[in-house]
Assembly symmetry: C2
């Protein structure tokens, strides 16, 4: 009933036990980012044009969610079950990083998008065939959050006092992300193994992954002038 | 600089003074529906699969918003300015019809989508060339909210007591919509004229349009078993 060559195009979940976890955490990250960015756009944008610009990005996150969900289904996994273990951590992150104004919302968008892309790249490095094509599709949209950088830079130039406040905000965003990430890594050892194995051989340590995310984050802060 | 044949493909705003209003009200209706449905999906859906189903519809509304916004830009209008006169009425409708549970959210989706499609059809009847193609593109997605009908019918079969409560809710949804619609029609006479002229000749009366929307609404209620 199932010709061998067809099955061989689907990677076995047994070979990569962390793959469903990886797709699940990324799927819920995209689904929750879509919902939160939509809300931030509707409640914090200073104009209808700004609201549309952030909503456009939110809808892109939803399109990524769709790719991940469909990939989970193709792998024979239930998308809801795959996402479930990560709902609490991601919702906690959002609850602890609710922006109180438009600039905070833009910084959160850029920082969150950046961390997500770093994650996708780590996944791609692992070169699991179920991930590689998907990562290409997602990373096509990299640079979409560039509008946030430009607006934040302009706001800082116009009001240098805002800079210190936003730098603190960005530090809080990444700090809360790493704190939730550490708890997830502890609770899902197979996911942690998959991600750390993708780093240089012999240095399979989750703290190295987090150090790398922090380093990339610092580059993004510099790009925003923070 | 502007060859005549190119300009002639764009209808003059002077010829149809209500067209920018019509595109503006539809654009904000889609943008606000997208945001509210996204929020309802994130806060009320009983499962991640239900959340995805309603989010899928919300993202479709955003795609319609994009079509309308781009059409406004093509006509030389500022989309933000075109939407501005309708923000208060549509936000008031959403504030007065905030669903308190998942079934109310589904009924609101189906009712709101239905009223919007009736509106698009009235606009198409007017046969303004700037609208006709756009309406075709939007109405392709008609039927997408059908999943809401099926879930509401199943819920009523399982719990007949829910039926009376949801029937009242649906009546409130359409009542508040017609009440806001009357205020908009009074404030934007050119829009009212455009829509009433599209009805049978000699009967250019906004109350006839509303009676027709109510009639279509009643058919949708019957489809849901309410």
């Amino acid at each position: 009933m199932f010709p061998k060559n067809r099955r061989s195009t689907l990677p076995s979940m047994k070979e990569s036990p962390g793959v469903v976890d990886l797709l699940g955490v990324l799927a819920y990250a995209e689904l929750s980012a879509y919902a939160r960015m939509t809300e931030d756009a509707a409640t914090l944008a200073p104009s209808l044009a700004d609201r549309a610009a952030l909503s456009e990005l939110a809808v892109t996150e939803y399109a990524h969610f769709r790719l991940l969900r469909d990939r989970l289904t193709e792998l024979g996994a239930d998308p809801g079950e795959a996402m479930a273990p990560f709902v609490a951590a991601l919702e906690a992150w959002h609850a602890q990083t609710r922006p109180s104004d438009w600039l905070q919302a833009l910084v959160k968008t850029y920082v969150g998008d950046g961390i997500a892309h770093d994650f996708y790249r780590e996944a791609a490095r692992h070169l699991d065939p179920s991930i590689a094509r998907l990562v290409d599709e997602v990373l096509v949209d990299e640079g979409r959050s560039q509008f946030a950088v430009e607006r934040v830079r302009a706001a800082i130039e116009a009001d240098p006092v805002a800079s210190g406040r936003l730098a603190l905000w960005a530090r809080r965003l990444v700090g809360e992300a790493l704190s939730q990430g550490q708890q997830v890594a502890a609770a899902r050892p197979e996911l942690a193994t998959l991600l750390t194995e993708s780093l240089e051989e012999g240095k399979a340590d989750i703290s190295r992954l987090f150090a790398k995310l922090q380093e990339e984050h610092n580059k993004r802060m510099a790009a925003m002038g923070l």
